[in-house]
Subunit: 130 residues, 2 copies
């Protein structure tokens, strides 16, 4: 199968592309992460989001530990071919490792960041006690 | 005024932070760009989005040429303190330099990127003939 669609992407020097994952149902931005070409290819092939973990330097099948997989409804690319937008269904309703729905739970209020969204599940219950 | 909220951000080595600009009304992701500390401070102070242009290496007051300013309703930060999410009102209804509402107008279909959203205004009418 042709992989021209992957070659069309303007990868960073590190071979990555930034990815915005958004709830397909209501547009909530859930998280931001990175993919390399292999991650994006696997995401398109399997229909489940696969990212590249820059800290662990390996593929990160979202939900592999937490069960909070992301079912991909649509993959979009921006005008400069260097940012991906995923429309997803978030399994478990939790995208953030803090147990919140979205990673973007801090809001600037009067010059301070305030955590304004609830923790839906204790992270120790998501990831175990290891 | 304290700028602790700016110091809280995990800036890249280049002193930047990625920014996702989203329509406050319906959640459409309109564009992705970068800010340095000055851009973010100005955005918070003025209530209009100011980015850092990596190509032109200068502050970019969104809409300065096109008139398509972004009125900022909310500024959010993610769990790692390294990505910003702006909730905005997009003046003119066009965020993309191609004359489309959103920069994310290419959708992956059968292994090809297809432009699926309409051009609302000819870019030459937005930016002049210079």
């Amino acid at each position: 199968m042709s992989e021209q669609w992957l070659d069309a992407i303007a990868w960073t020097e590190d071979g990555l592309v930034p990815v915005i994952a958004q709830d397909a149902a209501d547009g909530k931005v859930l998280m931001f992460a990175w993919m390399n070409a292999e991650a994006l290819r696997l995401t398109a092939e399997t229909g489940h989001a696969v990212y590249w973990s820059r800290s662990r330097k390996k593929l990160w099948h979202k939900g592999e530990e937490s069960g909070h997989q992301q079912v991909v409804k649509e993959i979009r690319l921006d005008c400069d071919n260097d940012v991906i937008n995923l429309q997803i269904e978030q399994k478990g309703g939790i995208a953030c490792h803090t147990g919140r729905r979205s990673c973007f739970y801090q809001r600037l209020e009067n010059g301070q960041w305030k955590a304004v969204d609830p923790v839906l599940k204790d992270p120790s219950d998501i990831y175990g006690k290891s």
